[in-house]
């Protein structure tokens, strides 16, 4: 649930899309977005959120403070 992509920072490289174990990332209107209801923060899959780890831009994929953290 809690990760989001900061649209102004995103370069549309799509690296995160293929790494997401939940298929929660897709391209929408020229930028990538994370579907909040599919994101599990990679809990149960990997130690670290894959989108954050692979993104080349610092602070582009961040916790969405408006939403509660994912609880497994």
């Amino acid at each position: 649930m809690p990760y989001k992509i900061v649209a102004e920072e995103c370069t549309n490289c799509a690296a995160c899309e293929t790494e997401c174990p939940n298929d929660a990332i897709l391209e929408k209107k020229g930028t990538f977005v994370i579907l909040a209801d599919k994101c599990t923060e990679c809990v149960g899959h990997y130690d670290d959120a894959q989108c954050v780890e692979v993104c080349p831009i610092p602070d582009c994929v961040v916790i969405d403070e408006r939403l509660p953290r994912y609880a497994a």
């Binding site: 690296a15 790494e19 080349p56």
Partner: protein, 504 residues
């Protein structure tokens, strides 16, 4: 900038490339011609502008930018930056889908008969986008089967895809290898993404180096030609690249391409922002010379964008933007390209024969003389560009063995709308200030005088003739003038390498 004195008569060790050049061999290196290479290798490289220096005068390549994602971060790369008049790797104006890329290839092939090669070089890493990369190759192969395929990678994912690369008939692969020592690597790569984890520091560099070597060995074992690209970063890996050269040579790499770091602050890269400088032309050449033993060294690389189109010295990508390609009606005509290739084959043989004939008597006259000269050319191996219209100069080294291509210098056009620009002329001169002469199809009186004052002779008398033959002919006359005292050896500069945006 520090000046360097180039002695006109300089001792050149015997052995290695060029020094012992036999018939048909102006040098080895990427200048290698028919007869210098096993026939099956020659067939693969003869029409590839990046793998053969000779071919780059005649043949065009295009990159299709279908691979935006990358799995590592390099200090010389800034993935956020894209400006339409900037020319450097890792940068494109627009992304392509595999389908549109295949159509773009057909559109370019119809328009540019010189096209022989399509490569995927990013803007990220070809193998960090395997689905898009191989889908594109599949589409191109079915619609334009005579086009050669190549790809460029940082090597991290390479071992996982060597078999696929072979299955898709990709017969040229470029790996960017900047180090084999993790201590050097940690100063180049802040992180890599490998096995679902971000690695940093020495661990990252160690994994990357191991994967690169493994991938290189696997490719050469399968007979796939491998070119290794290395970025020369003064103070970081410049000395170390000699060891890298040994490492890749011993693993069967075909060609080593040592490129100067591009690090202008406005590019926003880590190196650009922290003041890491790139090498001068003479520093680059010295390192290339050091590495050139029995290993082929590439010196004609233009460090092109991941969406470049055309001959290596030009970029016609603006003629083939996504909108334009989408609207084009495309007719695939393999015969026109075949006819052009046959013409070039004959032309190259003529050029080689002309140079061989001209070489007669040179060795005795030249001794250990070593002179650099610059050439204005639009391609085809001829001196056919006006001084004021040149966007780059090709640099040749003249020795007892003949004329050898050793590099190129990018410049702004001196002639702007019919008038020469004084400021531009100064930058042109600083780009070729290590050369004794500049060969042009034509030049105005004023720039000719200014060049003369800077110690650079402007030569027009070989306009539209073959480059190498003309240079050797001039060289003989120059040597005679030196002997008679009519010409004198002067102190020469370092040659500055152009870093900023390329405005065509």
């Amino acid at each position: 900038m520090q000046a360097r004195i180039i002695p006109i008569f300089e001792h050149k060790p015997v052995g290695g490339c060029g020094a012992t050049g036999g018939a048909g061999k102006s040098s080895c290196g990427s200048a290698a011609g028919k007869g210098d290479l096993p026939p099956e290798v020659w067939e693969k490289v003869k029409n590839h502008p990046c793998y053969s220096e000779q071919a780059h005068h005649h043949f065009a390549r295009m990159h299709v930018a279908v691979a935006p994602a990358c799995n590592i971060q390099c200090h010389y790369c800034n993935r956020k930056y894209d400006c339409s008049n900037e020319s450097r790797p890792g940068v494109v104006s627009e992304k392509l889908t595999p389908e549109l890329a295949a159509k773009k290839v057909l559109a370019v092939a119809a328009e540019i008969p010189q096209l022989t090669v399509v490569g995927i070089a990013g803007p990220g890493d070809a193998l960090a986008n395997p689905e898009k990369t191989f889908k594109t190759f599949q589409l191109i192969q079915s619609s334009a089967p005579d086009i050669r395929l190549c790809l460029s990678t940082n090597g991290l994912a390479l071992p996982d895809y060597v078999q696929t690369i072979q299955d898709f008939n990709v017969d040229h692969v470029t790996i960017t290898i900047n180090m084999t020592d993790p201590e050097v690597g940690e100063r180049i790569y802040p992180w890599i993404f490998y096995k679902h984890k971000r690695w940093t520091g020495r661990d990252a560099a160690k994994i990357l180096a191991e994967r690169q070597m493994e991938g290189l060995e696997m490719l050469t074992a399968k007979g796939i030609l491998v070119k290794v690209n290395s970025v020369m970063i003064p103070g970081v890996n410049d000395d170390h690249l000699v060891a890298v050269n040994q490492a890749v040579k011993s693993r069967g790499a075909f060609l080593h391409n040592i490129m100067p770091l591009i690090s202008e602050p406005e590019h926003g890269t880590h190196y650009g922002l922290t003041g890491q400088r790139g090498p001068s032309a003479q520093e680059l050449k010295a390192l290339q010379d050091k590495c050139e033993g029995d290993m082929n060294l590439m010196r004609h690389c233009r460090q092109c964008r991941a969406d470049a189109v055309g001959l290596l010295g030009e970029d016609r990508s603006q003629e083939f933007t996504t909108d334009k390609v989408a609207a084009m009606e495309v007719n695939y005509d393999a015969d026109a390209r075949k006819a052009y290739q046959a013409f070039v084959e004959k032309e190259r043989e003529d050029q080689q024969a002309a140079m061989q004939a001209e070489l007669a008597g040179l060795a005795e006259e030249a001794g250990h003389a070593n002179v650099l000269v610059a050439v204005a050319t639009k391609g085809s191996g001829r001196i056919n560009e006006h001084f004021g219209h040149a966007g780059e100069f090709q640099v040749f080294e003249l020795t007892a063995a003949g004329a050898k291509f050793v590099g190129h210098r990018r410049v702004d056009h001196y002639c702007q709308g019919g008038y020469g620009e004084e400021e531009t002329l100064e930058t042109v001169i600083s780009a070729i200030n290590d050369c004794a002469a500049v060969f042009v199809a034509k030049i105005g009186l004023c720039p000719k005088k200014d060049l003369e004052q800077a110690g650079i002779e402007a030569v027009e008398e070989y306009a539209h003739q073959y480059i190498e033959q003309s240079l050797v002919a001039w060289f003989k006359g120059y040597l005679a003038r030196l002997r008679s005292g009519e010409a004198v050896a002067v102190e020469r500069g370092q040659g500055s390498l152009r870093q900023g945006a390329f405005v065509a």
